[in-house]
Subunit: 344 residues, 2 copies
DNA sequence: CCTCCTTGTGGAATCGATTACACGAAGGAT
DNA sequence: ATCCTTCGTGTAATCGATTCCACAAGGAGG
């Protein structure tokens, strides 16, 4: 592969001139610039990004460590992150932690070894030592979706409390009183917050959230299935299950179907994180929708701000409720609900 | 960030000894090795992958350019690719082309600029000049899922012809005679092959595939919706629509639903590429399932074989039909079908 | 006509690793 | 005692870019 030396030789100039011509440095004569460009064209020369990074101590690359790529929510997040980064002239390297702290650590390590300019993380757990150390050492970093309390890193996330209140109001209005939740791992902020928001919203209606109605999941489909089976085996099963992410909702559907039961007749279902498939499931699933794309873009902007020496702000965007049919038949048209009804 | 020089100074040895100690070179005394390791530990030293890559002309990184990350099929492919690569000691950088040739070209270019060791591509079109040039120049490369005819690059893909024959047999057995297809872009092999396979299978049953029953899609949901609407507007609409990927099937469901019609009563639906959500859609969707994970792993093994100087083989794995309810009510138990029925 | 800038250019240092080569010390063979 | 390996180590070249510094040529100003 042609190097800058080959170009210099072909153009009859020094490597310094080639570099200057290619980087838009002002003091290069028009004649030299033309000869360099011609040589570049002829040789098909492309600068070696590895060499450039070594010299400039800059890779124009962002690392993104997400909890689980197979979760459509994170897939969309990753997509919007890459889009915004590309618009700002950065590449993105994605590391998929698969909800495993050891894998998360592996990816953080390899990303840092590659000297990425900044790190976007949706932590799977309390944070690997290497990550915390990097944050303390000043590696530009931004948390997205999930975060780690006590670490001085900007957080870009959405606040689902209002939407969860809307959800509980909706459920209460449909006559449901025994509401259960499939929680995410307690080690994650989203795992804890969604339970808290649910409990608070229930309290506002004078309802409790008994321990038996809190199932411990891990944001994966299998755990949603297992927890739902447990709920159905209770002496007094819940009337509604609220899954803290879309994969656990899929697992819950599996469990209900395996028993030959129907949603919402035998068990109502709602989920955190809306996805296109929820429109076409049987029945369509009521969900709390995050502004995923906006979250990803805001996170990249915050990170690039930090990288380029500006100050980065934390961002919190509201989630909203999307009502479908999985919690019960819609209210009659005579008494329109205050809650937006999805038409898609 | 500590460099090898800092470690050398702290350990009281030369940088050469540090490098040798860290890379398991045999001729390093136990004493020196211990001092180096202690210094590494104390300084929290990690080798700079950029510098190492420049020197060794090796990045231990694979590039993966896929057509569309938001398509669950490709998400799963990406995941299995990363897994297998990690097992073999490689990292993966994913580039999402979003079915756009210009984006595909962008990603191929930046990946080559980074001097990745090998490239895994699922081409969106006939192939960007840069990619073809790289293939000719000897960059290790493997096509996965889709490929470009006439380019001497191993291909790892699945053959859906048998499964499509099974599908048509299933449809014919249910009494359907007017079968339509939502095709993928003609610029992709999978776009063309799936139409060909469908047409061949129809011919075996004495059925034709009229031009009006071939809708031109682009593997995205919106096109599936548009094409399906066109089918429904025909004087004689088809009885079955076969979507050449899962996103276009989603769009088809959208279109049917928007008209207030039902699947399969008013229109039967089948799709290429099975995904977990198809179990829970209304109705569950009959699909041709590719061995996606195995495809990704085989592709990585083939690419690494090429990179490490061995010869890489093309691989073709069979797809299989998964029958669900979207094409009509199941056959009666008295006359068991030769085709496997999904229980999940 | 002699300075003093400005402009364009090249030489060489540099980034952080790996590795060829040289060399001194130690040990074994003769 | 001498020579030859072998072992462990250090010096320095190298990868491909960027960039500081020096310098030559040419024009402007005195």
């Amino acid at each position: 592969m042609a190097s800058i030396k080959d170009v210099a030789a072909a153009a009859g100039v020094s490597v310094a001139t080639v570099s200057r011509a290619l980087n838009g440095h002002p003091s290069v004569s028009a004649a030299a610039r033309a000869r360099v460009l011609a040589a570049v064209e002829e040789l098909g020369y492309r600068p070696n990004a590895v060499a450039r990074s070594l010299r400039t101590d800059t890779t124009r690359t962002l690392g993104l460590v997400i909890s689980d790529v197979m979760n459509p929510y994170f897939t969309e997040l990753a997509r919007s992150v890459e889009e915004e980064a590309r618009a700002l002239g950065y590449s993105v390297i994605i590391g998929n932690a698969d909800e495993r702290p050891d894998l998360q650590d592996h990816h953080v390590t390899t990303l840092l070894d590659r000297r990425i300019d900044g790190l976007l993380v949706s932590p799977t757990d309390g944070g690997s030592p290497r990550m915390l150390e990097a944050a303390r050492a000043g590696t530009p970093m931004v948390f997205v979706d999930r975060w780690i309390p006590g670490v001085d890193v900007p957080v870009v996330r959405s606040d689902g409390r209002a939407a969860v209140r809307d959800l509980v109001a909706h459920l209460h209005g449909l006559g449901h009183r025994r509401l259960a939740i499939i929680a995410g791992p307690a080690a994650t902020t989203t795992g804890r917050e969604r339970v808290d928001a649910f409990r608070e919203a229930l309290a506002a209606f004078g309802l409790e959230l008994p321990a038996a109605y809190i199932g411990q999941g891990d944001f994966q489909a299998a755990s949603g299935r297992r927890v739902t089976e447990g709920f159905l085996d209770l002496p007094e099963p819940p009337e509604v299950v609220f899954a803290a992410d879309n994969l656990m909702a899929l697992g819950a559907l599996d469990a209900v179907r395996a028993r030959g039961l129907r949603v919402p007749r035998d068990l109502a279902l709602a989920a955190f994180d809306d996805i296109p498939w929820f429109v076409h499931t049987d029945p369509p699933v009521t969900a709390v929708a995050q502004p995923t794309g906006e979250l990803g873009r805001a996170a990249v902007r915050a990170l690039v701000d930090r990288i380029e020496g500006r100050t980065a702000e934390s961002v919190t965007l509201p989630a909203r409720l999307v009502v479908r049919r999985s919690c019960g038949e819609p209210e009659t048209p005579q008494s329109p609900s205050p809650v937006r009804r999805s038409t898609t």
